[in-house]
């Protein structure tokens, strides 16, 4: 009987050692490396989204707010436009595209399938599949009308920060585009 007990104890010890081994190994590695763990999908090349706003003016809302909640703005605008005919430009998807469109080496606007497309840069990384561009245009088609914010013609949401404030260089750019067309 004692032999059996001994064998059982040995077996338990071995199991225990096996279970603890990986923990010990990882602990060793952590001590050895003081670099941070790489991000998931770190082999993916992420291009920097093109910006057409300067740091102080930002987007139609602060950058952190837009990164987290841009879909809420677009959704809100979408229903108002569709059902009530409210056509303010500030949060319209078309103006998002007009401002954030990225051009390739040939000077052509990249499509949403291209990972350099502003929307695709983040959504490819985050594996978020968006349906917007099955119906909506993913490249600018007509000149921006956001300039109207300057003269107060679109007072919708004007109480929010950054509303109606576009960098003078942006306005200049948009005006030039208008004249070019």
């Amino acid at each position: 009987m004692s032999q059996t007990k001994l064998l059982m104890r040995l077996f338990a010890l071995m199991i225990g050692a096996l279970l603890l081994l990986p923990l010990a190994a990882t602990a060793d590695e952590d001590e050895g490396e003081d670099e941070k763990d790489p991000l998931p999908f770190s082999d993916l090349v992420i291009t920097e989204p093109a910006r057409r706003f300067s740091e102080e003016t930002g987007c139609v809302a602060p950058e952190a707010e837009m990164r987290r909640n841009h879909m809420e703005y677009i959704l809100h605008q979408r229903d108002e436009t569709m059902h009530e005919g409210i056509r303010t430009r500030q949060y319209s998807l078309e103006e998002c595209i007009n401002c954030h469109a990225v051009k390739d080496e040939q000077g052509e606007y990249v499509r949403v399938e291209d990972e350099r497309h502003f929307c695709a840069t983040c959504h490819t990384y985050a594996s978020v599949k968006i349906d917007c561009f099955q119906c909506h245009s993913d490249v600018p088609v007509r000149a921006s009308k956001l300039r109207k914010l300057q003269s107060g013609l679109a007072p919708h949401h004007s109480t929010e920060p950054f509303a109606g404030k576009l960098a003078s260089e942006t306005v200049q750019l948009l005006t030039n585009e208008d004249q070019a067309q």
Binding site: R87, C135, H136, S137, H156
Partner: protein
């Protein structure tokens, strides 16, 4: 702060006068609306049922063989020949927001042509049958499909007596930003809602006038002084399938 030290205005009349003055000043203060035409809707205001948009078509003036309204609609909204993405669909499947219909009276051999599109009914059957609420009528009488909600069941296509709606069978590219269209949804004439909201005229009406046929008139049916109301009052206009009591926004003459 000095205001609070003053004695309160004793008379109600004076108070009302002052309040009235303040309200008047506030209305003038934006200044924007003074420069815009009276009928233009500010971009941030929702549409209201003070207006009902309609189109009057004079079939006698409509040119036999003229396709200007259809072409203009294609160009404006990016369908048909203006968007080559739908090249695999059969002719029966292809989009038809507006189409020319030719009618021949067998007794007299008289041939009439007219444009046929969504009639923007007051009581639209497509809205009645839609299971998701995607098919809807705006306050100003324009019947639309909210493609964000449309599941592509095509009940509305069955319900429409005018065969005005079509279904998109293929993946599309290069849609117009003002007329989004996508596979798996139903679509139809929007009465160029993006133009109307900015005080414009539908592309088909504009093209017809440019062709000097002047067979189409667009306007507010509720406004007695609008051209369409005056024309309808003086010469009348028919609904197609008036027996269905749909009270269409598109009326015809000479049929």
């Amino acid at each position: 702060m000095s205001d609070t030290s003053k004695p309160m205005d004793p008379t109600r009349r004076q108070f009302i006068t002052k309040a009235g003055g303040a309200a008047g000043a506030a209305a003038i203060a934006p200044g924007v609306f003074l420069t815009t035409p009276a009928q233009a809707k500010p971009a941030d205001q929702p549409v209201s049922n003070d207006k009902r948009w309609g189109i009057l078509v004079d079939a006698n003036k409509c040119g036999n063989g003229c396709n200007a309204c259809v072409t203009a609609c294609e160009e404006e909204n990016g369908w048909g020949s203006a968007n080559p993405s739908e090249d695999h669909s059969s002719p029966e499947q292809k989009a038809h927001w507006i189409r020319k219909v030719t009618i021949k009276d067998k007794a007299t051999q008289h041939v009439t042509t007219l444009p046929m599109m969504c009639q923007h009914c007051e009581n639209p059957p497509c809205v009645d049958v839609c299971p998701t609420g995607a098919s809807f009528k705006r306050e100003d009488g324009i019947v639309l499909v909210d493609k964000h909600i449309c599941i592509g069941c095509r009940y509305c296509m069955m319900a429409c007596p005018y065969k005005a709606r079509s279904f998109i069978h293929e993946d599309l590219k290069d849609q117009k930003p003002w007329a989004p269209r996508g596979k798996g949804t139903v679509e139809s004439c929007t009465m160029c809602v993006h133009r109307v909201d900015e005080d414009g005229t539908p592309a088909c009406v504009e093209a017809c006038n440019a062709e000097t046929h002047k067979a189409m008139v667009f306007g507010d049916l509720y406004d007695e002084n609008s051209e369409i109301s005056r024309e309808l009052k003086q010469y009348g206009g028919k609904e197609i399938r008036a027996d269905l009591n749909l009270n269409t926004g598109v009326r015809y003459r000479g049929i």
